[in-house]
């Protein structure tokens, strides 16, 4: 089924209109249907180990009218990975095709819409646009990985109201097995969450809280509650992001994660990044504080060449990462 969808998306792209802007997808003929995608290559040097990776190769299609719309995204993940350590080399491949997102949106009225399917959980500042090319560092903050489920298969009820700013309320409900269960940071069958988001001028304030449960056959802590506070500021040259999240399991284990990230655009093409992060993961017994210093070059916005160095308190985690990613 997933391969059939992939072939269909590819065939749609053959009917693309002539006029094309990189990073904005193709329109399929005159239809209200668009096709796009992205890929990411990266290199990581950590201790004595080098890793070369063709990570994301994804195709997506979306479209609809002013009331009903859809989005489907299929992706190869870690398609080819090559390691080199102490003069020994080995490679891994993953040829499975993952269903990253599949959902339908229906607009009820001016302020309310519903989303049904598998989608990025609308939580925090990073999770809605989690792909390499759309962020300023190759790595994600740890808070996006150890606090909440990145994907939800269920319902997202959204209420949005505009006055001088934009207020958005998200209700997330999952009470079923997920679509493509291998592709999530937590293997869940329940997720109930609330999100409050307010944007005014260049400021964004977000509060998320929720509960999720791992699937019945999972051994270990089963139920988790979480909360996260996010603050963002963006101007022409400068961007400041900060998030603090905590998670507690039914067995009392607690995860905490926080970061502050500053981004400075020297020019539209040359961008400097500094991120300070700290986390404690009681489930795995890990805790760490580290700094990420990065430089990103975007010859065009949808093309990114990024380098970053991470200096950790746990010295074994120090690493250098370089990546090349494109959105089309």
């Amino acid at each position: 089924m997933k391969y059939l969808l992939l072939i269909l998306i590819f065939l749609f792209s053959l009917y693309a209109q002539e006029e094309y802007t990189l990073g904005e997808g193709y329109q399929v003929g005159e239809l209200p249907m668009y096709v796009g995608g992205y890929f990411s290559l990266d290199y990581r040097k950590k201790d004595e180990q080098s890793r070369y990776r063709l990570d994301d190769i994804a195709l997506l299609s979306y479209g609809g009218n002013d009331t009903i719309s859809y989005l489907v995204e299929l992706e190869f993940k870690e398609y080819y990975v090559h390691y080199n350590e102490d003069n020994i080399s080995w490679s891994t491949t993953d040829r499975r095709l993952y269903l990253e997102r599949l959902y339908f949106d229906y607009v009820f009225n001016d302020e309310t819409q519903i989303r049904l399917g598998k989608f990025n959980s609308p939580i925090g500042l990073w999770n809605l646009v989690p792909i390499n090319v759309l962020r300023e560092t190759t790595s994600n903050p740890i808070s996006t990985e150890i606090i909440f489920p990145q994907y939800t298969t269920g319902v997202n009820l959204n209420y949005t109201r505009f006055d001088e700013g934009e207020f958005r309320l998200d209700l997330i409900l999952q009470n079923n097995t997920p679509l493509d269960d291998e592709y999530n940071n937590y293997d869940i069958d329940k997720h109930y969450a609330l999100g409050l988001n307010y944007e005014i001028n260049d400021f964004t304030y977000i509060f998320n809280t929720g509960y999720f449960a791992k699937r019945e056959d999972y051994i270990g802590p089963h139920d988790f509650a979480y909360a996260q506070l996010s603050l963002g500021y963006e101007s022409e040259q400068f961007e400041l992001l900060s998030e603090f999240g905590l998670q507690q399991s039914n067995e009392g284990d607690m995860n905490l994660a926080a970061y502050v990230q500053g981004v400075y655009r020297f020019t539209p093409e040359h961008i400097g990044i500094l991120r300070l992060e700290s986390y404690k993961d009681e489930l795995t017994g890990l805790n760490d504080s580290f700094a990420v210093v990065g430089y990103t070059y975007r010859p065009l916005y949808p093309i990114a060449l990024k380098s970053e160095y991470q200096q950790h308190n746990r010295n074994s985690e120090n690493k250098f990462i370089f990546s090349f990613s494109v959105l089309f």
């Binding site: 990073g23 997506l60 719309s69 607009v107 009225n109 302020e111 646009v129 759309l134 001028n201 949808p302």
Partner: protein, 134 residues
């Protein structure tokens, strides 16, 4: 000297171009923040009407003035915004080649919104916001 200064001030004021954001006759009143939300496709339905923002071409000087005046976003920030929206399944506003075609579109399509030089406005459209060169 004062007369000369007054002359230059008046001359400058006469030269300052004035522009307007316009909508079809049935388009409800919109605040500057709401106009911004319409052009970022965040506000797509309002008072029962489907809102359709219309841009001029990316090379248009008026478009740049509009984006500075109401969106408060430069080219690269908008590019970043629309790249993210592409990943999320949203499209940028439709672009038409000239103010004349944008004006005609707005006059005919309920909920359509665009921006034009004030002298091009006809009685078939409604002014939602006006500004002039500083």
């Amino acid at each position: 000297m004062k007369t000369l200064l007054l002359f230059f001030l008046l001359f400058g004021a006469m030269q300052a171009q004035e522009y307007a954001v316009i909508g079809s006759k049935r388009t409800p009143e919109l605040s500057p923040a709401q106009i911004k939300a319409v052009f970022l496709k965040k506000l797509t339905h309002y008072q029962g009407l489907h809102l359709v923002p219309i841009n001029l071409p990316a090379s248009s000087e008026l478009r740049k003035k509009f984006e500075k005046e109401l969106l408060h976003m430069n080219f690269i920030r908008l590019k970043s915004y629309w790249s993210k929206q592409h990943y999320l399944g949203n499209r940028p506003p439709l672009s038409l080649k000239s103010q004349e075609s944008a004006l005609l579109f707005v006059a005919k399509v309920q909920g359509a919104i665009t921006y034009v030089n004030i002298e091009n406005i006809t009685k078939d459209v409604k002014i939602l916001y006006r500004w002039r060169d500083e």
